[in-house]
């Protein structure tokens, strides 16, 4: 878990003031090679063309890649290749904080300590993970389809989900065995699509009365049926979960974004690459996490 959420911690806890954060973020972004440089290196654009795109950028508020495609200098595939290259260089956030003089090494060390105290898995959460045999669940997947990275991704997703369940909904969580299916049918489900480097459909499903209870706790209001407010609360829980997940990925140089969440009545989800289903036992009933990539 170490350092996984550190970038997010810095952004969400307002440890530095807004001007400092802005300069750190700008430095982090500037530390990546410019797309124009990479385009010349790859032989896709000439210096003249790069210069032209830069001048167009001043006129139009558009991204380099967008304009290069509009000008016919790049195709989508080439742009994607360049963006991927751009991502391989990352400067650690801690490095920038120290370079910028915002932290001494001592300060960095103690900030990491605070962060670990604040954000590390609590004993309770570790207990749940142990009880749930999360590693074994994941190992099963590895055996099953051999796609390590997707399994790792799913594991990370589940760890975060447990943390959010414990923090906001219920401390009495037991994960059942996860499985993968071709189709998943559900009466009702809050769904949100993660887009970008990974395209993942995520969902939170369950029977109405369990979902209503879940939504009531998250909204902090007593809800009596699966009405608009309840559906909204479920969607917003997914949005929080996915927002944190996506920002963790970002700090590892994987760039994703979120489509707006919504609620689907009586749905049938079909698998893309893998459709993982993970039932979770809460004190008031069973919910199911859906992860379709």
């Amino acid at each position: 878990m170490f350092n996984k959420y550190f970038g997010n911690y810095i952004l969400s806890r307002k440890i530095f003031n807004i001007e400092q954060i802005k300069s750190v973020l700008a430095k982090q972004q500037a530390a990546r090679p410019k797309l124009g440089v990479l385009a010349i290196e790859s032989g896709y654009l000439t210096a003249f063309q790069v210069d032209r795109v830069h001048r167009l950028q001043v006129l139009h508020d558009k991204r380099f890649g967008e304009l290069a495609i509009a000008e016919g200098y790049l195709d989508e595939r080439q742009l994607e290749e360049l963006l991927n290259k751009q991502k391989t260089s990352q400067v650690l956030l801690g490095q920038i904080l120290v370079d910028e003089g915002l932290l001494t090494y001592d300060g960095y060390e103690s900030l990491l300590k605070d962060y670990k105290k604040d954000s590390g898995f609590s004993d309770l959460e570790i207990d749940i993970l142990k009880r749930s045999h999360a590693d074994e669940v994941v190992n099963l997947f590895v055996k099953e389809d051999g796609t390590g990275p997707v399994v790792e991704l799913f594991k990370e997703y589940v760890e975060l989900f447990i943390r959010n369940l414990v923090r906001f909904i219920d401390s009495d969580v037991i994960l059942d065995w996860a499985y993968s299916v071709a189709n998943y049918e559900s009466e009702g489900m809050a769904v949100q699509e993660i887009v970008g480097d990974h395209r993942i459909e995520t969902g939170l499903a369950g029977q109405d009365e369990v979902l209503v209870r879940f939504a009531s706790i998250y909204a902090g209001e007593t809800l009596s049926s699966l009405d608009d407010l309840a559906k909204d609360a479920l969607g917003e829980f997914m949005n929080s979960q996915n927002g944190l997940f996506v920002s963790n990925l970002y700090h590892k140089n994987i760039n994703c974004n979120l489509n707006p969440q919504h609620f689907m009545n009586r749905t049938n989800i079909r698998q893309r690459g893998r459709l993982y289903v993970l039932p979770c036992q809460l004190s008031f009933g069973k919910i199911t996490i859906i992860f379709n990539r």
Partner: protein, 121 residues
């Protein structure tokens, strides 16, 4: 003491934010559930400050931010987001957002950020 417009597609999040703001000396003058409605209400209500969710249907928060600032270049906009993503934050701050708040909300943080944004020149 500011008149505040809340733009967020989630009614639950709007309610929570409104509760926090109502407990302070700020006034929530309007609510909108997407960027299109938000922009229209911004023009109509001329609030002192806008809280603006990032992930929304129709018009997302970043686009809405740009439209609001095109309308009034010194508008005070605080982004609200579940995304602690550096590039989204930086894009918003560079475009002219005053600050940001991450979901789920913490009362003290919300009021602190809003106070700071109102103080900015």
């Amino acid at each position: 003491m500011a008149n505040i417009l809340i733009i967020d597609d989630s009614v639950m999040s709007r309610n929570k934010l409104k509760k926090i703001l109502d407990s302070s000396d700020h006034t929530v003058v309007g609510e909108a559930q997407d960027g299109v409605e938000g922009l229209a209400k911004f023009k109509k209500l001329s609030p002192d400050l806008v809280t603006l969710d990032v992930t929304m249907p129709n018009m997302d928060g970043l686009q809405c931010l740009r439209e609001i600032l095109a309308e009034k270049s010194d508008a005070k906009v605080v982004m609200i987001t579940a995304l602690g993503k550096g590039d989204t934050m930086l894009e918003a701050l560079d475009a002219g957002a005053a600050d940001y708040i991450t979901k789920p909300f913490e009362d003290a943080n919300v009021l602190g950020v809003i106070a700071g944004a109102l103080e900015q020149g």
